[in-house]
């Protein structure tokens, strides 16, 4: 084995540039595959503290409202906890967990935290283990509270968990007043894989936990509601019970509950009012809108990575074929001194193995090094750590090496062993023949095709992302920021001093407050409105201050936005005016519409239309835009939108004003462009990911084209000299040489373009608000073709120029 290894290493050394190109292409592709695999493994993992996650279930609920598209909530009414206990369902440790906001007060300052209200059964069920103290006591004592390390650090700096236990703090939930609590336990920050993890970037790991008897707990009526999704209910399946059986138990308990009678008849007559299921914790990483989108991104990345691996493999096959053809004399010599076909095959396999194994090692290092950047790109939850490279990924890389080996060696070796040794010894090298050449060109063609598809998709995604960020949503984003105050919306502190300072500042042009910041998608309140002409329309309703429209540059078509005195004033958008039966914007102004019910029930609150504005879009581009209503109020609202003169300094200016004149609360300032980017972060991540992968794929294909053309021209040198001898011009010689890549490129276009168009249309079909399917797809595809062509030309230009410099006299040498 050692002589073989030495021989293989020596051979590789003589062609190190080929080996390096093959290895670097493979390493990049394998690193991309490894990163995707690492992410998938990390994303599907459950909290290690939870034992037997296949047997612990989360009860899930999906409303079935008439004429509505409903989705599973990955949550349920809290009432299912006691309901299932009473029904005798085959479940143990049924425990409710409700999440909400909490304000913690200490020494005159307030901090927001995530509040979990939980039953004590959740402690053993979910493997909750405090660093210090008694968690059960925190959940059973009315004044008990458990807090995470992050809260301890915020309140007391470097205080140890043991020292924090017993300390008194003040806190309040979303409703109720501040109460004094005793810290009974200190918890580690929640594992991002835990079902209790709250991925809120503004709060981070700050979490508190209390029991359902706590003054900070969820109100009693919320705990008893059966059609309000207000928490999560976990339980352990009894032996012999499957998760699939639990849905029926839930339905039975739901129907048996006295509150079922209160559900409107049209929701439940001859139909189900809701659907129920139980999800094992091991299934949770795949469920829910965010998780599903994340897996979509990962699937796309996986496809692109595997495609790239194929391209790199084709590269290796091509290079290996070229290389073995070049080594005909050496092969003939080895055979003449007695080497068998099997021994030669062993040698070539060893050479290929060294290259591929080297690539795998390099890929591993690259994957480990790039993991944090990749996690950030995929917008994984904070604290979600990728790496070190898990054993299964290492195993996968090893299997990949073993799979690639026959692919890379078999065909070139078959070709090389077919040639008899005698001509090779005489210095006559056999041609690879028309089929050999066709196979190599086909592989190059697939490389180009893959690169074109990836580039085109990256272009389409980037163009759609640009469209999402710049499409007309009915408001301006330039020079506008959003100030979010970390406070309970129901109990906003006095902001008058801050707002006066804001109004006085020379760099601030306008400001307004709202309960729904522009740029972020919102479900909002959907409220059925009825006009005098009995036109009915569900409006998505938000509350705004009168200056909202001027601040955001929303065009007012008629009327003047102003708050009502004694009556509710509403501004509607053009779409709403039309749906409510008004012939024009002017006709709508001054009219009364009735609302205040819910999206099915007519309300009795009269609202006067004071203005009609241009269509305003709050929904994500994936959802259809609903007609809008804006309740105009002078009451303080917690999201403050600010229009300034200078985008570069606006956020800093607002921060300074807040620190000088605002209440002692944490805050964040985002530009509206940042809000939009956050809304479309997964689309953006996918676009960036595909952009990076397509760039790498094009590089891999170009490396292939570069070395192939170099090799082809070396082999065809005499042919081109003969062309020159018979009168070929520089252009004709370059054409001849370029045909080596031009034909595969053209065939690649024929194959790749329809695939790119199909994939592009498929991607865009997921958006209501999307690029024009013709120009939106055509331009990125043309761009991809030009980019691939340009890089290919760059890759082969040097060879073409060299070929053009060959002189006919060489025919005599």
């Amino acid at each position: 084995m050692k002589p073989l290894l030495v021989d293989a290493l020596r051979n590789l050394k003589t062609r190190r540039s080929h080996a390096l190109i093959a290895a670097s292409g493979l390493a990049l592709a394998m690193a991309a595959c490894a990163l995707v695999a690492m992410t998938a493994i990390a994303l599907r993992a459950t909290d290690p503290a939870t034992t037997d996650p296949d047997r612990i279930v989360l009860l899930d609920f999906k409303g079935n409202l008439p004429d509505q598209q409903n989705a599973w909530f990955i949550a349920s009414p809290l009432a299912f906890g006691p309901m299932l206990k009473q029904s005798g369902a085959p479940l143990d440790h049924i425990s409710r967990v409700a999440g909400s906001g909490m304000e913690i007060r200490h020494e005159g300052r307030q901090w927001p935290a995530y509040l979990l209200v939980a039953d004590t059964d959740a402690v053993p069920l979910l493997g909750l283990t405090p660093l210090h103290g008694d968690l059960n006591a925190a959940l059973t004592r009315r004044d008990g509270i458990a807090i995470t390390v992050d809260v301890v650090q915020t309140l007391w700096g470097d205080l140890s968990p043991a020292e924090a236990v017993g300390k008194r703090i003040e806190g309040r939930g979303e409703e109720g007043e501040f109460n004094a609590f005793t810290v009974m336990a200190v918890l580690p920050n929640t594992d991002p894989r835990s079902p209790l993890f709250n991925p809120n970037p503004w709060i981070g790991g700050a979490m508190a936990m209390v029991g359902f008897d706590s003054p900070a707990s969820v109100p009693r009526e919320h705990q008893e509601a059966i059609y309000a999704v207000n928490g999560q209910v976990f339980a352990r399946l009894r032996d012999g019970t499957s998760a699939a059986e639990i849905g029926a138990w839930m339905r039975e308990a739901f129907v048996a509950n006295p509150r079922y009678a209160q559900i409107p008849a049209e929701w439940k007559t001859n139909r189900e009012a809701a659907f129920f299921r139980a999800l094992p914790l091991s299934d949770l990483p795949f469920k829910g809108r965010t998780n599903e989108r994340r897996w979509t991104v990962l699937r796309a990345a996986a496809i692109a990575s595997v495609l790239m691996l194929l391209l790199a493999t084709f590269n290796c096959m091509n290079l290996q074929t070229a290389h073995l053809l070049q080594r005909q004399r050496e092969t003939a010599l080895r055979r003449s001194i007695g080497a068998t076909g099997a021994q030669l095959l062993m040698l070539w396999t060893m050479e290929a193995f060294i290259v591929i194994a080297l690539s795998a090692v390099l890929a591993m290092v690259l994957a480990w090094w790039m993991a944090p950047a990749f996690a950030a790109l995929l917008q994984l939850p904070p604290g979600f750590v990728l790496g070190p490279v898990p054993g299964s990924v290492l195993g996968g890389l090893a299997i990949t090496v073993l799979l690639l080996l026959p692919l890379v060696v078999a065909f070139p070796a078959w070709r090389a062993l077919r040639n008899p040794p005698a001509p090779g010894l005489q210095g006559r090298t056999a041609s690879e023949g028309p089929w050999g050449r066709r196979v190599r060109q086909s592989l190059l063609c697939l490389q180009f095709g893959g690169a074109i598809v990836l580039c085109a998709m990256a272009g389409i995604l980037a163009a759609q992302q640009f469209h999402l960020m710049h499409a007309d949503r009915g408001f301006e984003t330039r020079n506008r920021v959003w100030l979010m105050i970390h406070a309970n919306p129901e109990r906003l502190p006095d902001l008058s001093e801050f707002l006066s300072a804001l109004g006085r500042h020379p760099d601030i042009l306008d400001w307004a407050s709202t309960d729904n910041a522009a740029g972020l998608p919102t479900d909002g309140i959907t409220d059925l409105h009825v006009s005098r002409s009995q036109h009915k329309q569900v409006l998505r309703v938000i509350s705004v201050s009168p200056g909202f429209f001027a601040t955001l540059g929303v065009r007012i078509l008629a009327g003047t936005p102003r708050a009502g005195s004694g009556e509710t004033n509403i501004v509607i958008d053009e779409k709403a005016a039309s749906a409510l039966g008004f012939a024009s914007a002017q006709n709508a102004v001054g009219e009364i519409i009735r609302g205040g019910g819910d999206f099915l029930q007519e309300g009795s609150e009269e609202r006067r239309i004071v203005a009609v504005v241009n269509d305003y879009k709050m929904e994500s581009a994936r959802d259809a835009s609903m007609p809008k209503g804006f309740i105009v109020t002078d009451q303080p609202l917690w999201d403050i939108m600010i229009h300034g003169k200078n985008a570069a300094t606006l956020a800093q200016t607002v921060g300074e004003i807040w620190r000088e004149s605002g209440p002692p609360l944490d805050y964040d300032v985002w530009t509206l462009d940042q809000s939009l980017a956050w809304t479309y972060r997964q689309e953006g991540a996918l676009a960036m990911l595909l952009g990076a992968l397509s760039f790498l794929a094009v590089c891999v294909a170009m490396l292939g084209a570069y070395t192939l053309v170099a090799d082809s021209l070396r082999r065809r040198r005499m042919e081109l000299v003969l062309h020159r001898l018979h009168g070929a011009s520089d252009a004709a010689i370059m054409r001849q040489a370029a045909s080596e890549v031009a034909v595969p490129f053209l065939i690649a276009l024929l194959i790749g373009l329809p695939i790119a168009v199909w994939l592009g249309l498929l991607y865009l079909s997921g958006f209501v608000d999307r690029l024009d399917p013709t120009t939106g797809i055509a331009l990125p595809i043309v761009g991809a073709v030009i980019a691939t062509l340009a890089i290919t030309t760059l890759a082969v230009l040097r060879h073409l120029r060299r070929a053009a410099s060959w002189q006919p006299i060489e025919a005599l040498r």
Partner: protein, 228 residues
């Protein structure tokens, strides 16, 4: 047909200058069969290269059909080669990936002849060389003698007035070598001017004129009739 006056070719490699041809005066008339002989390194192939307009002289004059070659552009030289000169090489210089007929057609590819006529010419040339049945074969499937016949077919496909052969039998056994020389002699007899470089005295004896070079100079320039 070819007139050389004080034709000199020097090569420079680094600081070393080598004189390959030194003040050659030579005239070759149309229809002649000239054999150029001499030891290795005497300048035979250099002389052939200059005659074939594959290389430019360092100094002196080279006239082809009465026209001075010096100062002509590469495009003009290529056109003259294409229309007037055919080449036969020692190592055949056939393209492995092309079939026999494609190899022959290569000589016509850059001319003005339409493709249909090119095909006719290729067929005629192959017929003339007795290779019609090998038209679709690749060079690798032919013997050395057959490969050189393909090379000759390529050289005559454009019906050149001047045939330049650089040791055309160098890679052949004697039977195939004689066959190739017979073919070249036939072509000369049909009117083509033939200049061949050879090491073989036997093959040189077939020529009507023998030029022997030594150290870049003409040592002997003997016409067969005079010699006899």
């Amino acid at each position: 047909m070819i007139e050389m006056q004080q034709l000199t070719k020097r090569y420079r490699g680094g600081d070393v200058e080598t004189t390959a041809l030194n003040s050659i005066d030579l005239q070759i008339d149309a229809g002649e069969y000239v054999a150029i002989t001499g030891p290795s390194g005497c300048g035979k192939s250099t002389l052939l290269g200059l005659m074939g307009l594959l290389d430019a002289p360092t100094s002196g004059s080279l006239r082809l059909d009465g026209h001075e070659v010096a100062g002509k552009s590469q495009r003009e030289l290529a056109a003259i080669r294409r229309d007037r000169i055919g080449f036969v090489f020692q190592s055949f210089n056939l393209v492995d990936d092309l079939t026999v007929e494609q190899n022959v057609q290569l000589a016509l590819r850059y001319g003005s002849l339409p493709v249909s006529k090119q095909k006719l010419r290729v067929a005629e040339a192959l017929e003339r060389l007795g290779l019609s049945h090998r038209a679709r074969h690749h060079p690798g499937q032919l013997s050395g003698g057959q490969q050189q016949r393909v090379a000759i077919a390529r050289a005559i496909a454009a019906r050149p007035a001047l045939l330049l052969a650089d040791e055309p039998t160098g890679n052949l056994d004697s039977a195939h070598g004689h066959e190739v020389m017979r073919l070249l002699s036939e072509l000369n007899a049909e009117g083509a001017t033939l200049v061949t470089v050879t090491h073989s005295a036997e093959h040189a004896a077939l020529a009507s004129r023998c030029i022997r070079l030594l150290d870049g100079r003409v040592l002997v320039d003997a016409h067969a009739d005079l010699a006899s």
